[in-house]
Amino acid sequence: MRSRIEKIYMGIILVFMYAPIATLIVLSFNGSKSRARWGGFTFKWYINLFGDDKILNALANTLIIALISTVVATIIGTLTCVGLMGLKRRSRAFIMGITNIPMINADIVTGISLMLLFKVLRFGTGFVTVLLAHVTFNIPYVLLAVMPRMKTINPNVYEAALDLGAEPFYAFRKSVLPDLMPAVLSGALMAFTMSLDDFIITYFTKGSGFDTLSTKIYNEVKRGIQPEIYALSSIIFVVVIVLLVTSSMIKGRQGTGAKKKVSLYKVEKKITSGQAFAIGAVTVFIIMLGLYFGGVFARKSNQLFVYNAGEYIDPKVIDMFEAETGIDVIYDEFETLEIMYAKMVQDDSAYDVICPSDYMIAKMIDNGMLRELDLDAIPNRKYIGEQYLESAKSFDPENKYSVPYCWGTVGILYNKNMVEEPVTSWDILWNKKYAGQILMQDSIRDAFMVAEKRRGYSLNTTDPDELSKAADDLIAQRPLVQAYVIDQARDKMIGGEAALAVIYSGEVIYTQRENPDLAYSVPDEGSNVWIDGWVVTKHARNPEAAMKWIDFLCRPEIALMNFDFITYSSPNTAARELIEDEAIRNSEVAFPSEEVLERCDTYSYLGEDGDALYNDMWKKVKSGG
């Protein structure tokens, strides 16, 4: 009876723990890229996974960092626990207090504080800094796991062993360690797990061109997950299960060899040689894997560091560029422009070529972070439509620093089955009828743009009165909003989670493909027209390659490949002519009419004070006034 209740209880908790994992495994076989729609059963993500060097490389990095940091942290942590037992209570409490610091601090603080440290020490960020950071936050987990056990250990045991003539280390290994081992192992397991799971600290200490699985995933959570990641996670999960079962089988076989002794009230916890072998084998395998993919230690000479938004290029284009020029492209993705900017402030030579949006380009020009382009090296710039270069002057007055890459409008994506009236005004986002059905952009400028345009203000206003009115409107709107999202809007709209969403025009073609009930409108009050352009950083280490990169992307057939892949409007007029599907070539969404563009403006950089004003107002909006 009692054991049945226990089983049911364990079962419920296990279901709770594994429901999301089952979901992920199901998603890994989903034919549709959107997690909100079932597109039939497929193996293609698994097949693609093994061709994806980036993911495999990130996996190898993750495992190697996790393994080394776990071993180092476990050794240091266990020694510390033993040492602490002999110290005065006060020093012990003090050290345990210090130990709590990395755990209690927001990860972002730990990450940034370490980043500052490495910067002061002039330590080049990369593999080593990530490793140091991981050891730092792993030791506390080992300490917290081992310490309670340590306190239960009778020092006489160790003294007894010493008394029997054992060397101190031998005595420790034979007398104390076996008792401590379960706790040490659980500490190590915890450390390994934390290392696998960490994102933020890694992000701030990793430098450019180095990714672990979680930094890669975080990029994608905001941009939309590549289903290959689901496939990889499922594989990892299955591998771990298999390892577990195997090790317990080895253990079981060894157990039956010797005659079972009756030891009813105590179970000895020791690692059998079978388990030790399994652990060793896995270690070797992981290291081999790392060396094979070589991303950890290899640094080649002719490299180009590219920093782009997520899913903002056809990966084949990168391969083609590498094949043609022999330049090795290190391609990183940022999730928001703000994070990209923070990164560049930290290390201004981290990337050679970047693709930010209009106002951010202005800001970077303003702060002297960009280099003038060598237009002679970019002959293909001639394929960019004159009107786009003209628009770009709003943020790059002489077109000296940037070449437009994509552009589009911001508008309302709505579900025709859920919205009856025509969508012609931003007002609809304040309509109580759609309470809980509205998705707003989780981005300061886009959110304020909606409120400003609705009231007929400029979307670049810095007038405090206008701004606070806009903020009040947004606060009033907040109860109606289901969520503030970035790219999640896509999946949620496809899945019918919401009726209305503020979205970039580039997402429309893809979402309509997945859910034909969706329609897009740029409200009559006007909106934002945005341009993303490629820029080269002031302290770029390889500016020549950066120019080649930009030139390559301006080729009409390359621009077309990118358009087909990312479905964002291209300013490359030659490429547009090459689009075969007439409906798309003439799509009002992909290439809005002059009439629409006339009521749209670009964002300009508002200066530090303007930014601060917006930030303050935004915080108020998000926390409800």
């Binding site: 999301p20 909100a36 990395p102 972002i108 796991a145 659980s186 699985l213 928001t336």
Partner: protein
């Protein structure tokens, strides 16, 4: 090793050195940033900023949600720890690992999966619909954030509690029964007090990350619910106001002190050896 202070120092020294370089010094930098303004002049403004309604509200909300999550975790984990510890004879290693295994799938992915499960048109509502029960509206509410916290941090509660429970000698429990205590008295007078170190560990390991999280609140709260972690994150990544971000972090560090005091007090009893 236990008695010689010199050996003890030697053993603890690598970590002490490590902690100085990688914990204390960086912390000093945060303090520096938190106590200066952009021009580098000394100020308390960044710390006083916690009193602004926006910040205070997010701090209080974060405290409430993380306390609730910690309490739920405790009440889920303790019985589970007891079940696991009691079944020592079975393959407990595997069973224990089963509760940690989910953490090997990236927590962002797992949280994303919860979105898929909890959404209004998500899996759970689909199932509820199918069996004719009313749908639930959890996503983008504080409830969803609590669920995400409990889900992500539960293993941190299970492990230390299980560890301290399994290190109790069966005969200590038997002794209590033998001396006339019934099951309930035995639990409250013996089992529970003996596992206090594990409970403290567990609470620390759940409460703190829950208090400072921003990813969970962003994903399951629809970015509508700002916790103190979100505010700090925004100061660093969005507003570049590192001074303010650092100042607010210093406020969070008050909780380190509280935690240290609690641990030190609970450590006192076992210390009289």
């Amino acid at each position: 090793m236990f008695n010689s202070r010199k050996t003890s120092r030697l053993l603890a020294s690598p970590y002490i050195a490590w902690a100085m370089i990688f914990i204390i010094v960086p912390l000093g930098m945060i303090l520096f940033y938190g106590l200066t303004d952009e021009s580098g002049a000394f100020t308390f403004a960044n710390i006083a900023a916690i009193a602004e309604p926006v910040h205070l509200r997010s701090l209080i909300l974060a405290l409430i949600l993380s306390v609730i999550s910690t309490v739920i975790c405790f009440f889920l984990a303790y019985p589970l720890g007891m079940i696991l510890a009691r079944n020592k004879l079975s393959s407990q290693g595997i069973i224990t690992t089963l509760f940690i295994l989910p953490m090997w799938m990236n927590f962002l992915l797992r949280t994303l999966a919860w979105m898929t499960l909890l959404e209004n048109k998500g899996v759970i509502n689909g199932v509820l619909d199918f069996i004719g029960l009313p749908e639930i509206n959890v996503i983008n509410t504080p409830g969803a954030i609590v669920l995400g916290m409990v889900y992500n941090f539960l293993p941190f509660m299970i492990l230390p509690i299980y560890n301290s429970l399994s290190s109790i000698d069966d005969n200590v429990i038997n002794a209590a029964r033998d001396l006339g205590a019934d099951a309930v008295q035995t639990f409250f007078k013996v089992t529970l007090p003996l596992t206090v170190p594990g409970i403290i560990s567990g609470i620390t390991m759940v409460f703190i990350p829950a208090l400072t999280t921003f990813a969970i609140s962003t994903m399951l709260g629809g970015s509508k619910i700002l916790l103190i972690g979100n505010i700090i994150e925004q100061e660093f990544t969005l507003s570049y106001d590192w001074n303010l971000g650092a100042g607010l972090s210093i406020v969070l560090m008050v909780f380190i002190v509280i935690n240290m005091v609690v641990s030190a007090l609970s450590d006192k009893k076992g210390e009289d050896r």
